[in-house]
C-alpha cells in the first residue's frame, strides 16, 4: 500500500507491505534507529513515538495506520543546533540512564506531560512512566529527571 506520512517534519511517500510495523518503517526504511524495539508486543514501551502529538507504541501499530499522520521520534527532540531538550539534559544530569536502550521510549512517553507546562511531583512522575520498563536504573533517576524537567519547562513558560 502507498502511504504518505510526516516524520519529524519531513514528508515521506512510501510503498509498504500492509503488515509492516511502524517501528520497522521508522528504523529500517527511514533509518531512524533511535526508536528501539524491546518486546514487540506493546508492553515495555521502548518503541514509543508520537503520532499526531500522542505517545504510542510503534511496535503494535502498522505503518499503514500512520498514513496521513505526523510522527515524531526521539531524533526530533533536541533543537536543530543540537541543544538538548530540558528533559534530555535532565536524564543525563539525574543519571536516568545506564545502557540507554529504553531511554528513547521513556523520553517520548514523558515528553507530552513535561511540555504541558505544569510541574509534576515525584508521585505523578512515577505514575507517568509506569508503563515503560527500564532494567538498569531502578527508576529513581528517571523520576527525578521528569520532575526537574517539568519544573524547568513550567518555569520557562512563566517567564515567556
Amino acid at each position: 500500500m502507498r502511504i504518505t506520512l510526516t516524520v519529524n517534519g519531513r514528508r515521506h511517500e512510501l510503498e509498504v507491505e500492509d503488515r509492516r510495523l511502524l517501528c520497522d518503517l521508522l528504523r529500517e526504511d527511514l533509518g531512524l534507529t533511535g526508536t528501539k524495539i524491546g518486546c514487540a508486543h506493546g508492553v515495555c514501551g521502548s518503541c514509543t513515538v508520537h503520532v499526531d502529538g500522542r505517545a504510542v507504541r510503534s511496535c503494535t501499530m502498522l505503518a499503514v495506520q500512520a498514513d496521513g499522520r505526523a510522527v515524531r521520534t526521539v531524533e526530533d527532540v533536541a533543537a536543530a543546533d543540537g541543544t538538548l531538550h530540558p528533559l534530555q539534559a535532565a536524564f543525563s544530569q539525574e543519571h536516568a540512564l545506564q545502557c540507554g536502550f529504553c531511554t528513547p521510549g521513556f523520553l517520548m512517553t514523558a515528553l507530552p506531560a513535561v511540555e504541558a507546562g505544569a510541574p509534576l511531583d515525584a508521585q505523578q512522575a512515577r505514575a507517568l512512566v509506569a508503563g515503560n520498563i527500564c532494567r538498569c536504573t531502578g527508576y529513581d533517576g528517571i523520576v527525578n529527571a521528569v520532575v526537574h524537567a517539568s519544573a524547568s519547562c513550567a518555569a520557562a513558560r512563566e517567564t515567556r
Binding site: T33, L84, L97, C99, F101, A122, R135, T137, Y139, D140
Partner: protein
C-alpha cells in the same frame, strides 16, 4: 599493602571519586547510540529460527524443501549444513564435571522447547519468518525431565554419558559440623525452590556477521566479553583468532548471560560464510523469554545451628541446581550452585559447614549467569533463617546478626574465601539508623491498631567482586583470569587507554577516563577510552561479576602510572631536571613551582617518537605502555533495609522506605555506583515478588511475553536512599573493590523478611518464591 599508596596519583587531584557526568549520555538521549540492531551493512540479510516445540524428542525428519523455495529465502541451515562447526563446550577443567557439548543445531534430538533446529536466512526478517513456518519437523516424543529434585530417580536420561542426569557434584565437610548441630540450642532449617529467572536486558541477544573474501570474519555482538567470545568462536569455527574481530556496539544491558557464544551466533556466521553477504539475527522478546538464557533455579535445603546465646555454631546445605538441557556455557549451571554453597557464610563468622552441590540436567532452557549468581539464593535462605532463629531464641533479630557479624579486619571464611575487610557492622547500623529501626515497633503497632500490616527486613551482605584467578579458585570453579591493557599519549597530546572490559551501561568511558586523567594531570575530556572491540586491547575477560572497577579501573591506574613514569623520564631529559622534581598538570609536565619550565604532553610525545637522542635514552620509542593486571579477591559489603505494607486479604505487597548502604572501597564515580545499587535493588525486588519463568507439566514454557514474565515497574518500587561507607581494599590497586550485585543479592531477603514480619501475627513464613499475591494468600491459609 604498599602498592596502593604508591599508586595514589599526583596529577589532577580529586577526579577519582568525582561525580563526573557520563559522556555516554549525549548520544543516548538523542537516539544516536548504536546497538547491534542498528549496525547497517550493505546487502545484509536476516535470520529466523525454527525452534523445538517439544521439550524432549527424537528428530525423525526435517523437511525444509518448501522453506528453501519460499520467496526471498537465501539459505536454510540444518544440522547437516552445520556439521563442520565444532560443538560448544565450557572450558572449565573440573574432574568431577561431565561435559555436555552442544552442537550448533541438533541432528537427532531436541532437549528443550525453543532449542533452535533450523535456521532460515532471507532478504528480510518478515520473509525469513514466513519461510520458517513452512519447515516441518517430525518429532518422536520422549518423556521430559522437569524436576531437578527427581531427575535422578529413574528418570529418562538427557545424555547417555551422564548417569542420573547429574553432570556435577561437589562437597565440603569440616570436622565439627555434626558436633555443632548436636550441641546446638536451636537448629533452624528451610527448604526452598528458588525461582527460575531471566536477566532480561532490554536489548535482547543479537549478532551481525560479515565475512571478507579472504575469509576474515567480523562479528558485531551484543556482548559483555568479546575476547572470550572471539576465542570460543575460533575454537568452534576452527579458525585462528587473528582471522576474527568481535566488535561490541552499544549494549542495551546484559547482567550476565551475554558472555558466551550461542548456537544462533554460529548459524549466522555460517550463513554469512556460505552466502558471502552480511547476516543479521536480532532475537525477539518471545525467543528471549523462551530460550535466551534462564537463570538461578535450584532446590536447596539449609540448616543453621545456634547456641543459646545466639552464636552461630555451624551450617549445612544441599544445593541442587536446575541447569536445563546443556551445561555448555562457560560457567553454566554449576556456577549458580557453587556460588550459593561457597557464599552461604556471607558476612558472618561460621566455624563449621558441610555442603553438597549437585548439578542436574533437565528439559528446560539452559541457564547462564545472572546478576548475583548463586549468592542471592545463599543470602536469601540464610537471612530468612536468621529471622526464624531469632524468634526461636528470643533474641531480637538485628541483635542476633550483631552477635555473628564479621570483625572489620580481613579474614578467611570457612569456605576459604579471603575477605579483605570491610564495615560489616557499621553498614548495618547505618541502615538501621536511616530506616529508623528503633522507632519501627511503635509504627508497626500503630498501623496494626489501624488494621494495617507493616513489616521491616534487614539484610547485611558481602559481595565477592574481584573475580580474578584467585577468587575463581576460591569460588569453586578454577578458570584463570587475564586482563591486559594499554595507555598512550598521541602526537597531539591526547590520551587513549585501551581496555578489555566491556561496558554495557556501567559508564566505563567516563569512570576509566577519570582514573587516567587524575594520574596524568589532564582533563577527563582529554582521555579517550577504547573498549568493546577485540582490537581495543591485547586480551581480557570482559565485564561481569562486578569485576570492572578492579580489573578495568585498577588496570587503567596501573597503565596510566606506568605511562606517567615514561612521560617523566622523557621530560627529565628535555628539561634537564631530576624526575622527582617534575609534576604533571593541565596537560603539561614541568618543574614544580617554575611556570616557564614546562612542556605540553604533545611535545613529550613528539620527542619520544622522533627525537633520536630521546629514543636512544629510553631504549624504545613513543609514549605507549601496556600492562597485565590480575588481582586478589575483594569483597564489597553493605546492608539493605526495606519496609513493606501487606494487604492480607489480597496478598498485595507495597514496598515502602528502601535503604541501601554500600561499601565498595574506593569509588571511581559515586553517581555510577548509586545507579548500580538502585538498579540491582529493583532487580532483587523483582526476584522476590514478581519474576518466574514457568513451565507446565508437559515442559511447555508459559512465560514467553512480558505479560506473563513480570519485570518491576516504577510503580512497583519506592525511592531508594543510598548511603556510602568507604573502606578501601588493602589488596587491590587503588583500593577499589568493585560492586553492582550487592543490592540485588540482599534485596530479596530484606523484602521477604519484611513481609514475614508484617504477617507475623498470622504465623506466616516464606516457603515459596517469588512471593506473589497468590503465594502470600496460600501461605496465610496454610498458616491459619
Amino acid at each position: 599493602m604498599a602498592a596502593q599508596e604508591e599508586l595514589r596519583p599526583a596529577g589532577e587531584p580529586g577526579l577519582i571519586g568525582a561525580r563526573v557526568r557520563r559522556r555516554e549520555d549525549g548520544r543516548m538521549v538523542v537516539g544516536a547510540a548504536r546497538y547491534v540492531a542498528d549496525v547497517e551493512l550493505p546487502r545484509s540479510c536476516e535470520a529466523a529460527f525454527v525452534r523445538s516445540s517439544s521439550p524432549h524428542a527424537r528428530i525423525v525428519a526435517v523437511d525444509v524443501e518448501a522453506a528453501r523455495a519460499a520467496p526471498g529465502v537465501l539459505a536454510v541451515l540444518t544440522a547437516a549444513e552445520m556439521a563442520q562447526i565444532r560443538p560448544l563446550a565450557d572450558l572449565i577443567e573440573l574432574e568431577q564435571s561431565i561435559k555436555t557439548p552442544r552442537p550448533a543445531l541438533p541432528a537427532d534430538r531436541v532437549r528443550y522447547v525453543g532449542e533452535p533446529v533450523v535456521a532460515v536466512i532471507a532478504e528480510s526478517r518478515y520473509a525469513a519468518e514466513d519461510a520458517a513456518e513452512l519447515v516441518v519437523v517430525d518429532y518422536e516424543e520422549l518423556e521430559p525431565v522437569l524436576d531437578a529434585g527427581r531427575a535422578s530417580d529413574g528418570a529418562p536420561l538427557l545424555f547417555e554419558h551422564v548417569p542420573d542426569n547429574v553432570y556435577f557434584r561437589s562437597q565440603q565437610r569440616t570436622d565439627g559440623t555434626d558436633a555443632a548441630f548436636a550441641s546446638a540450642a536451636v537448629v533452624v532449617t528451610r527448604a526452598l525452590h528458588v525461582n527460575r529467572q531471566l536477566a532480561s536486558a532490554m536489548e535482547t541477544r543479537g549478532v551481525v556477521a560479515r565475512v571478507e573474501p579472504d575469509g576474515r570474519l567480523t562479528c558485531w555482538l551484543s556482548s559483555q566479553a568479546p575476547f572470550q567470545q572471539r576465542y570460543l568462536l575460533a575454537l568452534a569455527l576452527g579458525m585462528p583468532e587473528t582471522q576474527i574481530q568481535v566488535i561490541v556496539p552499544d549494549v542495551g544491558g546484559a547482567f550476565g548471560p551475554k558472555d558466551f557464544i550461542f548456537p544462533e551466533d554460529l548459524c549466522v556466521i555460517r550463513a554469512a560464510m556460505l552466502l558471502g553477504r552480511p547476516v543479521r539475527w536480532i532475537e525477539d522478546r518471545q525467543e528471549n523469554l523462551m530460550a535466551g538464557s534462564h537463570a538461578k533455579e535450584q532446590q536447596l535445603e539449609v540448616g543453621l545451628a545456634f547456641d543459646g546465646d545466639g552464636r552461630l555454631l555451624g551450617m549445612r546445605g544441599r544445593f541442587v541446581g536446575d541447569t536445563g538441557a546443556f551445561a555448555y556455557s562457560a560457567p553454566a549451571g554449576l556456577v549458580d550452585v557453587m556460588f550459593t554453597a561457597q557464599s552461604l557464610p556471607g558476612p558472618y563468622v561460621v566455624p563449621e559447614y558441610d555442603y553438597d552441590v549437585v548439578g542436574v540436567l533437565t528439559n528446560k532452557t539452559p541457564v547462564a549467569p545472572y546478576r548475583g549468581v548463586g549468592i542471592t539464593a545463599a543470602q536469601t535462605v540464610r537471612e530468612l533463617l536468621f529471622d526464624e532463629a531469632a524468634r526461636r531464641l528470643g533474641i531480637e533479630r538485628v541483635e542476633l546478626r550483631r552477635r555473628n557479624l564479621l570483625a572489620d579486619a580481613p579474614s578467611t571464611s570457612v569456605t576459604g574465601q579471603e575477605y579483605d575487610g570491610g564495615s560489616y557492622l557499621a553498614a548495618m547500623e547505618m541502615a538501621l539508623e536511616r530506616i529508623d529501626y528503633a522507632g519501627f515497633p511503635a509504627r508497626q503497632a500503630a498501623a496494626r491498631a489501624a488494621g494495617r500490616h507493616l513489616g521491616v527486613g534487614v539484610s547485611p551482605f558481602v559481595e565477592g567482586t574481584s573475580l580474578g584467578t584467585l577468587a575463581r579458585l576460591q569460588s569453586g570453579f578454577p578458570m584463570p583470569s587475564h586482563d591486559n591493557l594499554w595507555a598512550t599519549v598521541d602526537l597531539t597530546g591526547a590520551v587513549t587507554v585501551g581496555v578489555p572490559t566491556c561496558s554495557h551501561g556501567q559508564g566505563h568511558a567516563t569512570a576509566f577516563a577519570q582514573v587516567a586523567a587524575e594520574v596524568l594531570g589532564v582533563g577527563v575530556d582529554d582521555v579517550r577510552v577504547v573498549e568493546r572491540d577485540t582490537e581495543s586491547a591485547p586480551w581480557g575477560m570482559g565485564t561481569y561479576a562486578s569485576r570492572s572497577a578492579v580489573f578495568g579501573g585498577g588496570g587503567v591506574l596501573k597503565a596510566a602510572t606506568k605511562l606517567r613514569e615514561r612521560i617523566v623520564q622523557v621530560a627529565s631529559l628535555l628539561l634537564d631536571a631530576p624526575p622527582e622534581a617534575l609534576v604533571l598538570e593541565g596537560g603539561f609536565v614541568g618543574i614544580g613551582g617554575v611556570p616557564e619550565a614546562r612542556i605540553p604532553l604533545a611535545g613529550v610525545a613528539g620527542a619520544a617518537h622522533f627525537d633520536p637522542g630521546v629514543r636512544e635514552a629510553l631504549g624504545e620509542s613513543g609514549l605507549r605502555v601496556s600492562v597485565f593486571h590480575d588481582s586478589p579477591p575483594a569483597y564489597s559489603n553493605g546492608c539493605i533495609a526495606v519496609e513493606v505494607e501487606v494487604d492480607p486479604e489480597l496478598g498485595l505487597i507495597t514496598i515502602g522506605r528502601t535503604i541501601a548502604i554500600e561499601d565498595c572501597g574506593t569509588m571511581l564515580n559515586p553517581t555510577i555506583v548509586e545507579g548500580q545499587v538502585r538498579g540491582g535493588l529493583v532487580q532483587g525486588i523483582g526476584a522476590a515478588l514478581l519474576e518466574e519463568a514457568v513451565y507446565d507439566d508437559g515442559g511447555q514454557p508459559l512465560t514467553t511475553t512480558y505479560m506473563d514474565y513480570l519485570l518491576p515497574r516504577s510503580s512497583d518500587v519506592a525511592p531508594i536512599e543510598v548511603g556510602h561507607i568507604v573502606t578501601p581494599s588493602p589488596r587491590t590497586l587503588g583500593g577499589m573493590k568493585g560492586m553492582a550485585e550487592g543490592s540485588s543479592i540482599a534485596a530479596p531477603a530484606a523484602v521477604l523478611n519484611a513481609v514475614a514480619d508484617a504477617l507475623s501475627p498470622f504465623g506466616f513464613s516464606v516457603q515459596r518464591l517469588p512471593l506473589s499475591p497468590q503465594a502470600v494468600w496460600d501461605g496465610l491459609r496454610a498458616a491459619a
